[in-house]
Each structure stands twice: as structure tokens, then as C-alpha cells.
Amino acid sequence: MKINPRLFIVELYSFRNVVKQLVSQQLILRYRRTTLGYLWTLINPLMMMSIMAVVFSALFKSDLKTFAVFLFAGMIPWNFFSAVVTQSGAAFINNEDLIKKIYLPKMVFPLSIMLALLIDSVLSFFALFFIIYVIGGSLSWTVLFLPLAYLMLFFFALGVGLLVSVATVFFRDLQYVMGIAMQGLFFLTPVLYKHEALGGKVAWLVRVNPVTPFIDLFRAPLYLGSLPNINLIMQVLGISVSFFLVGLFVFLRQEKKIVFRL
């Protein structure tokens, strides 16, 4: 099967309105007819993180304020990544009707899910930013690095999400595997604890976990108030680009087969 990247981009661009519609569909639908509406998207993770901050700062006997900032900084990239991976499995399966009826570039389905999640994540980031400020956390100018961190995180998640969305069409079991796999991965990702804190036999798993450097990347400006060092940035860039390219390659190879397998 031939792959023509230029045609692919031109075509995707010509369907940008469909992507826009699908993104707003997801954002609007979720909380239609609830009183607080879209605010739930912000309240939910904030409540969850606050509960975790209270419980685990007590458990680890650390200062609540410091721990809250530490936890929030790690939860932001983790929540986004985890939501992308668990939701992209359904990207094609949930749109079976549409895919079998009308031609659309298949990319619009996973892409619209990820863009909607990115919007959620950025908005909940601003809410957290506000909370950190209120509880007296110090915010430095280094947060200006975050858009770049988000960009790299997005392409990493996009790559993984594409792999999962395509693979799930062929192996439906993955829908159920991914939920529990992400829970396992959460404990192997230094969100609750410091990178160095987990020793013993599983320490190497934390080191090879590709999500780990992204946590460090967000934590540097938010928690430490410093820019991430250049080695970390290069490492994250490498992970982000390679996952994106592998995901895109697999997707383009399988794109035309999806309709026959739904």
C-alpha cells in the first residue's frame, strides 16, 4: 500500500471542519443538561487530585501544600496521557455506522478525540494554576516552557493513541486490557512519588517507562521552578517524535483495512 504524506495532509486539511464538528460534539455532549455543564470537566479532576493530595500527603507525612503542587504537576500530563490511551480504543468502533456509510479520512476520529482531551487538559491546567496560586505556591516564569511541554506530550499521546485505536479494531480484547494496563502503568509512573523513591526490583521499569520523562518535564517548571535540563528535553523530544512516527506509520498502513474489520 502506497503512502503519500503530502496528499494525506492536504486531505486532512480539507476535512478540518469535520474535525472541528467532532471535537465540539464531544465537548458539548458530555455534560449536556447538567447544571454545571462543562465545569464538571474541571471540577472532577480537581476534586480527585485534592482527595489524593490530602490522603497521600498524610500517608507520606509531607507538607500538604508542597505535596499538592508536586502531585498536581505530575497529574496533569498523566491524566491527559491516560485519557487518550483509554479513549482512543473506541475511536473507530464507536463510529462504525459513520465509517460504513460515508467516506471520511479515518484520521478525523482519533484526532478529534485527542484534541477534545487536549482542550480539557489545558483548561484543567489553568484551574490548577489558579489553585496553586491561591494556596500560596510559588509560580515562576519557567511556566512559559509549558506550551512546549504540552506540544511534545500531545504528539507522544497521539502516536500511542493511533496505535491503540488501530490495534483495537483488530483485537477487540484490547478495550478491556487497556483500562487495567493503564492502572498498572500509573504505579510505575512517578506521579505519587519522587522518581528516585521507588527502589528494588521494579526500579528499572520506572526508568524505561516512556511516560516518566514527561512527568519530570512538567514538574521542573511547576514544582521546582526551574527549566528542565537540556538532556531531559532531548530525551522527551526523541520519545515524542518516535512514538508519533511509529503510530502514524502503523495507522497509514492499516487505514484502508479498518472499514472491512468493523
Partner: protein, 247 residues
């Protein structure tokens, strides 16, 4: 001037005896040399070649499962061809499935924009044709109500009005749609005929043979994925009907 050229087109479906192979069986099969086939191939469209030029009104007839709808979907790019080439010149409007992408939680107006975008209208065009769509569907009163509260007739009226709001170069129909109450059906039928008149090329799959004879100036008869005959409706339709009687 629009045209459609199809050369050596084949579409193969792989029918899985299990709906989808599990991860377990995938890995089990990797190491199993004597694995049995878990699927069989079904050739829905088998090496078809034809050309349709501007002005032609083509009816496609054949038994259920002859490959008619699969061929239409291939022309609309829903199915990728296994073999062969399709080249289409002109804007295709598939009226295969009216209401594709409708969301029941959305209001009528939101669905006009969602469905309209999916079937290829630009935001500007949509803003322009929105009042006309609402008027034609006779749903002005309910246009800001979620469509899940619509009756089937209301739903069909809205879907039909969106799908037929613009005139495409190439019109592709899988059976002529007519739904809703008697008054709307008349209106819909009139609009359908208007669309057919204005289209540069029309392709219609139908089991109503009088309709095919009256609307088309060319008929393609398909059976088991192949073209049996291709010619004037007066010649082909009686032959097909006679074959149907005997076979």
C-alpha cells in the same frame, strides 16, 4: 463535465468465522504451522469495468447480494478496492444513508451543521442553506429540540432536507427515499426528481423496475459481482425480469 471510469474493479471481503480474532488466538497462530483458516474470502465485486459519461442516468439491477450496493459504496470511497481503478471526475453526493452522523442528543439545528459538515458542505454554505433546510423540513417549531424527541417522520424529514439541500454533479442513490406523511412524500419526490434532472450523472440501485425504466437511460444488470448485461432499459429490464422468473 463529469465522468466515472471503473477498470477491473474487485472488492473482496474477508468473512471471519469468529467476529474478530482474539489476542490469544493471534499469538497462538503465530507459532502454529498447521493453522486452519479462520476466515473465508467473499468476492462482492468481481473484475468490473465500465464507464459512465455526463448525461447518463444509470440504473443498476440484480438480486440481493449481487454486489450493487458494494459497488456504489466503492464509488463513494467507503470501500477501498482490492484490485482495479476507479476515477471520478465531479463532486459526488452519496445519498446512500440519509442521516449519517446524526446525533440524537443534538438539536435539529446542531444536527444540520454536524450532518451537513460530514456530507461535505462548508460552514458558509451551511449558514446560507440553513433557513431553507428548516423550511423544507417543516420543523421550524422544533428545530432547537434534541432530535431524540422527534418522531421517526420528523427525523426523516430533517435528514432528507439536509441531504438534498445542494445539487451535486454526481448523484448516487440506493433506492429512492420517500418517507414522512403523504404531503411530505409528494414534496420529497418532487425534490428528488429535480435533483435527478439537475445532476450531471445519476446512478440508482433499485428493485422497483418501473422506476428504473422511467428514470434511467441505461441499465447495468449485475449478478454475483459481475456485469451480466449493460444497455438500454427497454432491452435489459425485461431480460432481467425473465431471468428472474426462470432462475
Amino acid at each position: 463535465m463529469s465522468s466515472i471510469r471503473v477498470a477491473g474493479l474487485s472488492i473482496k471481503f474477508r468473512i471471519y468465522h469468529d467476529s474478530s480474532p482474539s489476542l490469544k488466538s493471534f499469538f497462538a497462530n503465530l507459532f502454529d504451522d498447521k493453522r486452519q483458516k479462520k476466515y473465508s474470502d467473499f468476492i462482492a465485486v468481481d473484475n468490473i469495468t465500465f464507464e459512465i459519461n455526463a448525461g447518463e442516468r444509470v440504473g443498476i439491477v440484480g438480486h440481493n447480494g449481487a454486489g450493487k450496493s458494494t459497488l456504489l459504496k466503492a464509488l463513494c470511497r467507503v470501500y477501498e478496492s482490492t484490485d482495479g481503478l476507479i476515477s471520478v471526475d465531479g463532486r459526488i453526493a452519496p445519498l446512500l444513508e440519509i442521516g449519517a452522523g446524526f446525533h440524537h442528543e443534538f438539536t435539529g439545528r446542531e444536527n444540520i451543521h454536524l450532518n451537513g459538515t460530514i456530507i461535505g458542505y462548508t460552514p458558509d454554505q451551511l449558514r446560507q442553506i440553513e433557513p431553507e433546510i428548516i423550511e423544507f423540513s417543516e420543523l421550524a417549531e422544533f428545530i432547537d429540540t434534541p432530535v431524540k424527541y422527534y418522531s421517526t417522520g420528523m427525523y426523516m424529514r430533517l435528514a432528507f432536507s439536509v441531504a438534498t439541500a445542494m445539487h451535486p454533479d454526481i448523484l448516487i442513490l440506493d433506492e429512492i427515499f420517500a418517507g414522512g406523511d403523504a404531503a411530505f412524500m409528494n414534496k420529497a419526490r418532487t425534490r428528488m426528481h429535480e435533483m435527478i434532472d439537475k445532476a450531471n450523472i445519476m446512478i440508482l440501485v433499485s428493485h422497483q423496475h418501473e422506476l428504473v425504466t422511467s428514470l434511467c437511460n441505461r441499465v447495468i444488470w449485475m449478478d454475483h459481482g459481475r456485469i451480466v448485461a449493460d444497455g438500454r432499459p427497454e432491452d435489459i429490464v425485461p431480460r432481467y425480469l425473465a431471468g428472474e422468473m426462470n432462475g
